[in-house]
Amino acid sequence: MAVLAILLTPVSAFAGELQQQLTSESVIQTIMKRGKMKVGMATFVPWAMRDKKGELIGFEIDVAKKVAADLGVEIEFVPTAWSGIIPALIAGNFDAIIGGMSVTPKRNLTINFTAPYAHSGMGIVANKKLAGNLAWPDGYNSSKVTFTCRRGATSCTDTQKLFPKAKLRQFDDSSLVLQEVVNGNAHAVLTSFPKPTLWQSQNADVLFNPTLDKLTEGNEAFGLRKGDPDALNVFSNWIMVNTSNGWLQERWTYWFTTMDWADQVNLKK
């Protein structure tokens, strides 16, 4: 017994040190010490957007504010260009991405994801003149059909998966993605709800929805830097608690199924 104890002591001492080091290096410690949580996000209706006062509002703004309030710290949003949001997280510009980012294996290789806090659905909106006679969904899977998508967004890979034969044109700006379809330079675009219905109602005489079904279902989660089990645990459990008590669902319903918030933003009619 004594021999065994002597043999094990250095190992357990080392493990203890490692554990301490991991805990003290966790982003949770940084947040608590700073008294402020820095959240990276990108503007995307209705996840996060600017109201008439220039303040941020939206589904994930509510989420991030509640996370901070529950941790007992202040919140600071770091608006970040979507294409650079993962490098910015890794570079340490903020503590976590709460930006409606869907979990994909590729992204997961560079950052960690928590449990999902939202399940967006991808819908479709199409140009009446170009796609009016196309049969849904088979008619859209043809080399004569052009789709648009926002570079780096999940909709690009989804389009390729669902309509492998169709052409795909990528833009950096989600509004240009829509404008190309409105102008009749592309047939259709996949985008996450509520945009398919929102865009259709904004351009009712040009656009239509071939279907209102969810074509794919996404899993949106917080993005964290690798090698931080504490943060992963804290945020995942926060999401679990707020899923089971219905808070996340209630906020989701408000932002995604109603338009009660539309007059806070100067949203195009």
Partner: protein
């Protein structure tokens, strides 16, 4: 006979009464500015006329090809908004972004000039070490696309050394007065690190071009001038300060002005690394409201106004420099 202006005003249904008469008057004034031969006038008229026609044609084409309802009314609220609580007007996103752009421009102009002057002098130095250092700097930056440089700089360098400056500490520890001063100079405390990395990035980038301008300025002065300076016993520095520089400044101003104007436009590139300047915040507004084209046209107009007024100012400076030296 109906003038071309009358026809155009009728064709585009301008809401302004007598616009064609006023345009006609302006036209005849323009034509009278310098006494020119009849042929030059006709050629001028042809060129200007076809330019106007081209612009009108493009506008007309865009109007028919692009299906878009223009709305401009929402824009003003994002520049200045009425604050109910304070009972006063408060700047909104676009104006805040413009302020950040100005701060970026001023500080990075200063930084770029300092780097440019040091490196430019080193570039003309007789020591190999100095020449090599500044040559490496210039070639490294000039041969890289700005976007790539900005990304490399921001994600590899800035994230390493900006925290070392302890900017977050400053905004927590400094006295309210210091913060107030810094707020005027740099912007809101939570954006200190953001703006400073933008300034360093732009300063380093534009510094390379200014280095070349300064080098060209110094080297364009006849060698005889330096030799004359040294032959009356001036040191190398004195020769530079009292003989070469005064002559070089005059030659350097026009290209330098061009470089500063480029710098103003280049500030929009740092929106890619999320520096909260005009372009970035305009993008935010565009995404939120979905009025994309109105926002971009407005932003283009703002940049044009700033750059053009700087160009006018520099033109004046140039004429003054000519008078002094």
């Amino acid at each position: 006979m109906a003038s071309p202006f009358a026809w155009a005003c009728h064709r585009f249904r301008t809401p302004y009464p007598n616009l064609d008469v006023k345009l006609n008057h302006l036209w005849s004034l323009l034509m009278r500015v310098k006494s020119k031969s009849r042929l030059t006038r006709i050629i001028d008229a042809g060129v200007i006329g076809s330019a106007i026609f081209l612009v009108a044609f493009v506008i007309h084409k865009v109007d028919t090809v692009m299906i878009y309802d223009w709305h401009w009314g929402f824009l003003w609220e994002y520049i200045l908004r009425w604050d109910e609580e304070q009972q006063a007007y408060a700047p909104n996103l676009l104006l805040k972004g413009l302020a950040t752009t100005f701060r970026l421009v001023i500080w990075s102009m200063l930084l770029a000039s300092m780097i440019g002057i040091c490196m430019g002098i080193m570039r003309t130095s007789s020591r190999l070490l100095f020449r090599t250092v500044s040559r490496l700097y210039v070639e490294f930056i000039r041969n890289m696309p700005p976007v790539v440089f900005i990304f490399v700089f921001f994600f590899f360098l800035s994230s390493q050394f900006v925290p070392l400056l302890g900017i977050d500490e400053i905004s927590v520890r400094a006295s309210p007065q210091t913060i107030a001063i810094l707020e005027v100079l740099i912007g809101p405390p939570e954006l200190f690190a953001n703006v400073i990395s933008g300034v360093i990035c732009l300063g380093l980038f534009e510094g390379a071009y200014i280095t070349e301008i300064i080098r060209a300025g110094i080297q364009s002065i006849n060698k005889g001038q330096t030799e004359a300076g040294q032959s009356i016993g001036l040191t190398r520095f004195q020769t530079l300060r009292w003989v070469v520089f005064p002559q070089a400044v005059q030659r350097v101003i026009p290209p330098l002005a061009g470089q500063f104007i480029t710098l103003i436009k280049d500030t929009s590139i740092v929106s890619l690394i999320s520096i909260q300047e005009l372009t970035f915040l305009a993008q935010e507004v565009a995404y939120s409201t979905q009025y994309v084209f109105e926002i971009w046209l407005f932003v283009a107009g703002v940049y044009f106004c700033i750059c053009y007024s700087l160009a006018l100012f520099c033109g004046r400076l140039e004429r003054r420099a000519q008078r002094i030296y």
